[in-house]
Symmetry: C2
Subunit: 345 residues, 2 copies
């Protein structure tokens, strides 16, 4: 049942502000000079693009021990696993033209999607709030790729992208935060509105708005043009810190009624330990209550590592991968409950 | 935390039809010749009545090792404990005139309430469906008391009672049944209507109608006049058997979806094992799901004995008695959760 790789960086659950921040992701959108952008790209061009990128980056990939995957060559299930590991997007998985991904399979700290909406999408993950570090690593990777492949760049606009919302820096930083106290206290709409007024985008990791499953939200910059990378980092950083303060204030208020937090967390544990069938959504919600209980110190088990393990391994594709075949949802729910019990016992 | 007495007969959970029937109770309403009935009784008469009954029945009480309690002499909490043991009624506990009870403290199999709505209310309990046996024991007890105290009796109406609905035989037989499958499948209203059409009374042990907490219902005869005791027994017996068949049919249908029953029972167990605060109502509901799981064989723990123990000991007055003082409801809920965890661990 253990996956072949270590737990991925984005779910490692250790890093600055780990009480509230799951991980930081930096994404750069880049396109290659001399190739049509996706809107007008033919399949022939896509094949050529893929071959060019793969060949040109092969020594870099070898040096970094990265893995190349031709998306057209792998099963639906394998693609779903990569999505659940956050290494590729749903768009890359579902695209029609040739496409691929180069990624660090050992710890999932970075990937380069090829022929998604843009020719290249570089992603770097760091657990906790590590915007500066993630940005520096992405920037260095970007420089190395730029030295091998000529980017489409305009002195006036900056990096050119398929969709104008990415043009300029091509930079999108996302911080994945866990906001159970804001959700439970129903302060979440107020909080996300305040962040949106700071020109940041807030969305649930799963589900939408205040119904985000598992109380997990992604905060990212909206603007990519007209601001330097440093300015984007700085303003997102201050928006995120404001949100974390808000969440922590609510958590302190929660602790005024310690029994409520404790009872909720322990009941979640009891359900996870005993249920015979668990949907993905319910599992994530129960993990959220447990995580809050652990972080607020009202309980001392289970370890955050096992919560992260449950989170990762009970996702639909990971579950199916563990038994080596596709399963209907009802069988997945059975298997999920079984795996949860095994991890917790 | 163990009570001084053994688990009471009504909750012993062993006897004929124990999969569905918790216990059988026979109650006889009797009044003494020469004393005013409750509607016109003065406190002086009540005192005399109580003293007369106590004195006259003292050797019988000694022979049976029964306990006499003068209700006016005991605390509210002690009265509540007797109510939870089903040995006295709420009416006896809350009455204003002198009143008392003679009961078998060792196993709670019988009691005689003195100066409730009628001068005497004899009660006999047997676990499972044992109408005949309970009736015979009550009948014998009734004969012995009748030989010591002259009953108010009319050749035309039979035993005279305070309220005409009890006149005649003065006999009320109640069977306490557990109908989780009928409740869950929403067949319960149809089933109870059918029983009511057979002139039987159906009510929740706690709560009303289809919202009976813990899926526990009492079925009893409505008529006391114009039928012999044997006829009352026979017609109630056939009504109860009909209900049990209906419940069992639903249970068999449930087992078509074994996972549903199993999941529900195990989730109830997980909540009982882990919750930090449990209301009385929630506890009884969870026990109902667990009991069904155990009886249908989808789980092999915990024992039915420990479920009965939880049922009895976590009632509000029993809980407070265990710590020797009155507690506000929120503290009871904490203590209840703690006691449940202890019994289950």
């Amino acid at each position: 049942m253990t996956p072949e790789h270590e737990i991925d960086e984005w779910l490692r659950g250790a890093g600055p502000e780990e009480d509230t921040v799951v991980c930081t992701r930096v994404r750069l959108a880049r396109n290659l000079d001399g190739f049509s952008f996706s809107a007008t790209q033919s399949e022939d061009e896509a094949v050529t693009l893929l071959a060019t990128v793969r060949r040109t980056l092969s020594s870099l990939a070898e040096e970094l021990s990265w893995t190349w995957v031709d998306i057209g060559d792998v099963s639906e299930l394998d693609r779903q696993v990569l999505i659940e590991r956050h290494l590729i997007s749903r768009e890359l998985s579902e695209g029609h033209r040739s496409r691929g991904v180069l990624y660090d399979d050992s710890d999932g700290r970075a990937s380069v999607m090829v022929n998604e909406e843009d020719h290249l999408r570089l992603q770097v993950f760091r657990s906790g709030l590590r915007m500066e570090e993630a940005w520096e690593v992405a920037d260095e990777l970007d420089d190395r790729i730029a030295s091998l492949l000529p980017y489409a760049f305009s002195n006036k606009f900056g990096y050119l992208t398929s969709c104008p919302t990415n043009t300029g820096t091509g930079l999108r930083i996302s911080v994945l935060v866990h906001l159970p106290a804001l959700v439970t206290s129903k302060e979440i709409s107020k909080a996300t509105n305040a962040i949106q007024e700071m020109n940041m985008v807030v969305r649930g990791l799963y589900g939408e708005g205040s119904h985000a499953i598992g109380d997990l939200f992604q905060i990212s910059n909206q603007r990519t043009l007209g601001e330097s990378e440093e300015e984007i980092l700085r303003s997102l950083h201050s928006a995120v810190l404001r949100l974390l303060d808000w969440e922590r204030k609510q958590r302190r208020e929660f602790l005024q009624n310690r029994l409520f937090v404790e009872d909720r967390a322990y009941r979640a544990l009891g359900t996870l330990e005993r249920a015979r069938t668990l949907s993905s959504e319910e599992t994530i919600s129960l993990l959220s209550a447990l995580r809050l209980g652990r972080i607020l110190g009202v309980m001392h088990e289970p370890s955050l590592e096992s919560l992260n393990q449950i989170f990762l391994l009970t996702q639909p594709a990971h579950l199916q991968q563990s038994v080596g075949r596709e399963l209907p949802p009802s069988d997945r729910d059975l298997l999920r409950a079984e795996m949860v019990r095994r991890i917790l016992s």
